[in-house]
């Protein structure tokens, strides 16, 4: 079964501390992985995708196929990083070519001054 697991509902850190938001997935093929973010009173938006291999707002995420993980990391958290973060998977074997996204339950990141 295709599933995305984010084990932490809340991650609370102080400004300047390293952050790691965990994401594990179950999928038999080679998925596309994404991180979406929702800031307070804003809509859900794409943060980064594994295929781009880029750093966005200081965040990076590496796909580890052996551990089936796609953890989101930032070396020094900022207060403006406080938001809800969702890991999402798009299976390559989807039918019809639509961009199906399977979401995790999300992790709320709270960065304290």
């Amino acid at each position: 079964a295709q599933r995305v697991t984010q084990p932490e509902k809340l991650l609370s850190v102080f400004k300047g501390a390293p952050v790691e938001l965990k994401c594990n997935y179950s999928y038999s093929g080679s998925p596309e992985l994404f991180w979406y973010v929702q800031y307070s009173r804003q809509r859900l938006q794409l943060l980064l995708r594994h295929i781009s291999r880029e750093s966005i707002k200081g965040f990076t995420a590496d796909l580890n196929k052996g551990e089936t993980s796609f953890h989101l990391k930032k070396p020094f958290a900022q207060e403006e990083d406080s938001a809800m973060y969702y890991c999402a998977l798009s299976p390559n074997s989807f039918s019809g070519g639509y961009n199906k996204l399977i979401f995790g339950a999300g992790t709320r990141l709270a960065v304290h001054p």
């Binding site: 809509r43 938006q45 794409l46 019809g96 199906k100 996204l101 399977i102």
Partner: protein, 113 residues
């Protein structure tokens, strides 16, 4: 300005009423989606559309129905609302390329009393 709009943002309605949640996009996208999210839980795909006159059911069974008569418009209808329909409904759209970014609306928070 290219955007995706959902109305209403909040709706409280009595059991048995018929409701329609509106979703419109000016992104020029062919693909549109409806996700349902209960508090603290994953987003689940309930409907999607490849284009005009195309609608399909998603992974999560839903008593709602959708229509796609115009490219920019993808309304969701509940013929007879029940308390079990209380949830947040998110509309999204994406372009034609595989695994391209999904753009989300602000969401409609529905409460059926």
């Amino acid at each position: 300005e290219a955007d995706i709009y959902q109305t209403p943002r909040y709706l409280v309605i009595g059991t048995g009423k018929k409701i329609t949640l509106e979703c419109s996009q000016t992104m020029g996208h062919d693909k549109m989606y409806w996700y349902q999210q209960d508090p603290g839980m994953e987003l689940h795909l309930i409907h999607y559309s490849y284009g005009v006159n195309s609608t399909e059911k998603g992974d999560l069974s839903s008593e709602s129905t959708v229509s796609r008569i115009r490219t920019e418009h993808f309304p969701l209808t509940l013929e007879s609302a029940r308390p079990s329909h209380t949830s947040q409904y998110l509309c999204a759209s994406s372009g034609d390329r595989v695994n391209t970014e999904a753009f989300f609306g602000q969401g409609t928070r529905l409460t059926v009393v």
